[in-house]
Amino acid sequence: MNISIEKKEFMNAVHIVSRFSDRKNTTLPVLSSILIIAGDDGIKLRATNLEIGIDLKLPGKVSLNGVVAIPAVVLQQIAGSFTQEGSITLEHTGDLITLTGETGKSSIKTIPYDDFPSIPFPEGTGNRIIVPGILIKNLFSIITPCASTSTIRPELASIYISIEGGTLTAVATDSFRLAEKKIPLTNKGIQGKFLIPAKNAADIAQALPDEEIIISFDEHQCSFISPTRTLVSRLTNATYPDYRQIIPKESIVEAIVLRKDFETALKRNTIFSDSFQKTQITFDPKKNTLSLFARNTDIGESTETLPARVTGSALDLSFNHRYLSTIFSLTPAESLSITAAGIGRPLIIRGIGDASLMYLVSPMNQ
């Protein structure tokens, strides 16, 4: 194999692809490597950890066809150290691959690629939708932190995607809070739903291009296809709980606050929160205020009162402040609407003017 690639292109490609190689499991060394394929249809980089897989095309000159597997960590470190503009040549001889730049030359030991698994790319049939990659990228990166990190319940460690009536709804919950975000689709006919493991979604979000992509899915896997790259992920094969049941239908009080106020108040309150990270929220419709209260026996206590438009009846509820502050990464809206349905029932936070997002937090026991 003999190929030459632009340094910058190569660097970006390696950076993206190396995320898909196996970083922990070293039983099969070829899984923690990147496969470089030089063929008549160009240069391709591949990696998989058997949960997700990527196939990425990159522009370059192929002088001699061939296939080689290189440890991802080594390749990533080398690619990360490139500084100057220019191109780099990769030449494969024996079990060594030689990388030659303008100033230096390095030889890396390769790994036998016979064991490199085939990545199960979809066969074109099945459900497919077309969306701008940037939307999915944002969707995945803001919503994945709300999914559970424990593997005990695989369905909660996944993002639930349902496509219906021209809208794509993504839901993530760890049973303490729940985030639901909707994005509009251009083609309306498709229906379907799937569960993608949150960990995989986070990796895919990093690798998605901004331009339009095709998402296709079947029972066991889904793929994200753009002209330059194909990403594949295993799907969680479980039933997602019917989350709509826990969303309160009615509310007894609503407060509208400025995001800026709420954010600073919460930040200051956090200093005083106890080991349970408890923050108490008080709705006061008479004074038109929303106040936050936290107490830590070792540090002290603090009350923050912020102006709000409160309609409904007075109410006290306690929450984990970490769950409350998640809302700031979920929506860019300037004002937030906070609605409560009563003691012991969840709180709903939405951004004013951002109908696409709904965030629900369960209260702590008082």
Partner: protein, 450 residues
């Protein structure tokens, strides 16, 4: 071997696969695989994801097919299915609940967190006999005027005599009589661990306060404190603090306060300063009462001869007695009828203590070592005084403790006549009554042999 059993079949296949591919490959691809079902001679193999399915089809299909065909020609094909994430790990069959009558009484293990007392131990279930009457009366007296009559109350006796039952019963009764006051039960070992933990965490003061707040402190098995100097000191201070404020303290131990080894004098004298009562060995009548009550509490009424048999066959502790009763009750529940004497005799065979098995050679060795003589000389014909005496003692022990016949003893100890053995045994038997040093020697040898 049943080739149709999916699990066994797959295990057989895997052992073959393991031989033909690299360990790394085997671990990656086959560790989580299993056979879902065998249907119409097609084997369905469960795999975690599409990645696996594709790779199985591409790489391993022909290998697997060859292996299963080797096992049986009947198998037509192998198919790969992607399994659910939550399905297969659960054990599908729950243990079937047996008939309602013998549901395990979990509440017996219930222990109150705030005072550590087990509510199962009450005076209602405590059998009073001549052996523990004094201890019972003392504890009743202590309950009438806690902290004043007998403080501390020190109860001692061998293991399994009901010390823990008695002192926990005091605690439970105390709670009932004086609802506002705090009682606390703990073992001395727990106390020691608590203390070391608090020292480690730097919260020794909190530790002190914690124990000083109780109105009744019950400490079980206090003899385990021996050699733990710092803990003893802490207990000493705690004792003084509680005693000065007239808070009742109750201890239990397997021996009287003065006999606890390696415990500071000042603590020893304090332990003995109140009332020290012992619980002796239960007499047969009490044992019978215990057996009857224990069985009745489980709703099983045993006939008198069974009760008598159970309580007299073994001279073990009350705890062992309870064990025997439990085993009878269990049998009664399984069979649905109360067992008669013959069945009980049969089932309790396992409870009889195993005969001590000690070889003659072993005894000779121990005795020779005890007297500091050469082991060989025992077997020789020598009549030296320092050898004759140990040889006679060996004969005596073999006869008395192990019931070995006179002729056997004779032949084993260097081919002596059985009359010689008889003479020796008789001689030692006579002397051991008058000669205290000899009886002491024999006692120590016996303890060596156990």
């Amino acid at each position: 071997m049943d080739a149709k059993n999916p699990k066994e079949l797959w295990e057989q296949v895997l052992t073959q696969v393991e031989l033909s591919i690299s360990p790394a490959n085997f671990n990656t691809w086959f560790r989580n695989s299993f056979v879902v079902k065998i249907d119409d001679n097609i084997i369905y193999v469960g795999v975690p994801s599409q990645f696996f399915k594709d790779w199985y089809l591409k790489k391993f299909h022909s290998l697997l097919l060859k292996i299963v065909r080797d096992i049986s020609y009947e198998f037509r094909n192998i198919e790969y299915v992607i399994v659910k994430d939550d399905g297969h790990r659960k054990v599908s069959r729950e243990p079937k609940s047996r008939s309602g009558a013998i549901e395990l009484p979990l509440d017996e293990f219930y222990i109150n967190k705030s005072d550590n007392l087990n509510p199962r131990y009450t005076f209602d279930t405590f059998i009073v006999g001549s052996f523990n009457n004094l201890a019972y009366v003392a504890s009743q007296a202590a309950l009438v005027r806690p902290g004043i009559t007998y403080n501390p109350l020190f109860i001692y006796g061998d293991t399994g005599r009901g010390k823990t039952h008695l002192i926990q019963a005091i605690g439970n009764q105390f709670k009932k009589q004086y609802p506002g006051r705090k009682a606390f039960y703990l073992t001395s070992e727990k106390f020691a661990v608590d203390y070391t933990d608090s020292v480690q965490a730097g919260t020794a003061n909190r530790f002190k306060d914690k124990y000083r707040q109780y109105d009744l402190l019950i400490m079980d098995d206090v003899h385990f404190l021996s050699k733990k100097d710092k803990t003893q000191e802490e207990l000493f201070h705690l004792f003084n603090a509680l005693h000065d404020t007239n808070k009742q303290i109750i201890f239990s131990s397997d021996r009287p306060p003065v006999a606890i080894p390696d415990i500071a004098e000042r603590l020893k004298s304090r332990l003995a300063s109140g009332m020290a009562v012992d619980i002796g060995e239960p007499d047969p009548e009490s044992r019978m009462a215990i057996v009857r009550k224990k069985a009745a509490s489980h709703g099983v009424f045993l006939s008198d001869d069974v009760i008598e048999y159970v309580s007299t066959t073994l001279s073990g502790s009350i705890r062992e007695l309870e064990g025997m009763v439990n085993s009878i009750i269990c049998q009664a529940q399984v069979k649905g009828s109360v067992p008669d004497i013959a069945e009980v005799r049969q089932s309790l065979r396992s409870f009889t203590r195993p005969q001590k098995v000690v070889s003659i050679k072993n005894i000779v060795e121990k005795v020779a070592e005890f007297y500091g003589i050469d082991e060989e000389s025992i077997y020789e014909k020598t009549r030296r005084r320092e050898v004759v005496r140990p040889r006679q003692i060996i004969m005596y022990l073999l006869r008395e403790d192990f019931n070995i016949s006179y002729p056997t003893i004779g032949t084993k100890l260097g081919g002596r006549d059985h009359t010689t053995v008889i003479h020796s045994c008789e001689k030692i038997k006579r002397e051991v009554i008058v000669d205290t040093s000899l009886s002491k020697d024999i006692q120590s040898i016996r303890s060596l042999l156990v």
